[in-house]
Amino acid sequence: MKTVIIKYNAGNIQSVLYALERIGVHAVVTADHEEIMAADKVIFPGVGEANSAMNSLKENNLDQIIRSLKQPVLGICVGMQLLCKYSEENDTDCIGIFEEPVKKFESDVFKIPQIGWNTLHDLKSPLMSGLAEDSYCYFVHSYYVPMNKHAIATTDYVQPYASAIHKDNFYGVQFHAEKSAAVGEQILKNFIEII
């Protein structure tokens, strides 16, 4: 079993690597096309701004590589958002695995970004296996993926939105699984065990 973490300008690569280490998974951080394509599992992290993240991927043609992957891929936070079609954050065209757009939270009542622990409900898919409804995960984000048919978890902030999505071999989680205590570790374990 070989797990790779895609190397680009995302801020949380080190944290993802350590979280995998804690569940006994040795992952390799790489931008090498062949190494990514040959891996059994691919993790696509992300912290930061969508446009510069997308540019960083494009510089190394990693956007095309990600699009072509057939093995399980997990996008985390901005990684999940970049798997969508388009982000309102600086008008960014993304990878487009999911046809949904990524929108900005708009509210006079709620603080933006959402920072802190919130619950997941309406859990589906093997990625969420073993988790109780209303499990807590750690979120930091100003942009969100609206409810859609690919949602495998829903979170309420400003309105209900898709906090995890799944289509074919692609998975995305809006929260930081790598920082979400035991719940996050369970999700990472589930991903590693997906066939």
Binding site: G11, N12, Q14, S15, Y18, A19, E21, R22, V47, G48, E49, K111, I112, P113, Q114, I115, G116, W117, N118, T119, Y136, Y138, F139, V140, D156, Y157, H176, K179, S180, A181, A182, G184, E185
Partner: protein, 252 residues
């Protein structure tokens, strides 16, 4: 629903926790990693590590410590203490810190906030403010760990910092810090209701009721404390249960 956060703060000097603790069940409560892991396991929502080392070896010791923390602790953590440049922050980020807190250096050079936010994102930048209410009733900003008074009002500085890109405000009331008589409700409420970013209240938490009050009346998004956790005057699981009973959303 998004929960209120409970944040233990650990003071670090030369890689060790400073304030004495009476954790008889820990092998080494002086080890910030072991103490932090204990709090994480108890249900702390985040941790703050404040480095007060003043030696030239500081950066190296701290970056090694941050790496050990990031390896072992599965909740977010902030590192502060003497961060004064992009380079300082970058070392911490690349060793696994989720956020940095900046204080005096940001006041002296507000552009630092903007630069850090542009480089690493606002979510990475916690602005710490030490503030004191003077006899005129106004809250002023203090620097250098509370030793230097400025003529700037707390609210004005907080607002400017958020406009520059600060992602959270860590607000310590010097009038309340160490008293265990409760948090500063009015200034916390004013900041929290006026600013678009979360406000972490600090200073004065002595009982579980104080936490309920700062969340309900002070509108704080998070509350930070140190010695009451270190000396087990308040245990985090009890505190969370109490807040839950008070209809305050917390992660249990």
């Amino acid at each position: 629903m998004l929960t209120k956060r409970i944040i233990p703060c650990l003071d670090i000097k030369d890689g060790r926790t400073v304030k004495g603790t009476n954790f008889v069940d820990l092998r080494d409560a002086g080890d910030p990693v072991e103490l932090g892991a204990f709090y994480a396991q108890q249900g702390a929502d985040e941790l703050v590590f404040l480095d007060i080392t003043a030696t030239v070896e500081k950066r190296k010791t701290l970056s090694e410590l941050v790496k050990r923390i990031a390896r072992q602790i599965n909740i977010p953590f902030t590192v502060g203490g003497g961060v004064s440049s992009i380079e300082d922050a970058s070392v911490l980020l690349h060793n696994g810190a989720d956020k940095v807190s900046i204080n005096t250096a940001a006041f002296k050079n507000p552009q630092l906030i903007k630069e850090l936010a542009n480089e690493f994102g606002s979510q990475f930048v916690v602005l710490a403010i030490d503030t004191k209410q003077e006899s005129d009733g106004e809250w002023y900003v203090y620097l250098n760990g509370g030793r230097t008074k400025t003529e700037t009002k707390c609210f004005d500085w907080a607002k400017q910092a958020v406009d520059l890109g600060a992602g959270e405000i860590l607000l310590t009331s010097m009038n309340h810090d160490g008293t265990k008589q409760g948090f500063a409700i009015d200034i916390t409420k004013r900041l929290s209701e006026s600013l678009a970013v979360p406000v972490i209240a600090s200073g004065g938490g002595g009982t579980m009721e104080h936490f309920a009050t700062i969340f309900k009346e002070g509108k704080a998004d998070a509350a930070l404390a140190a010695s009451i956790f270190h000396f087990k005057e308040v245990a985090i699981p009890d505190l969370k249960r109490y807040l839950h009973e008070q209809q305050i959303e917390v992660r249990i």
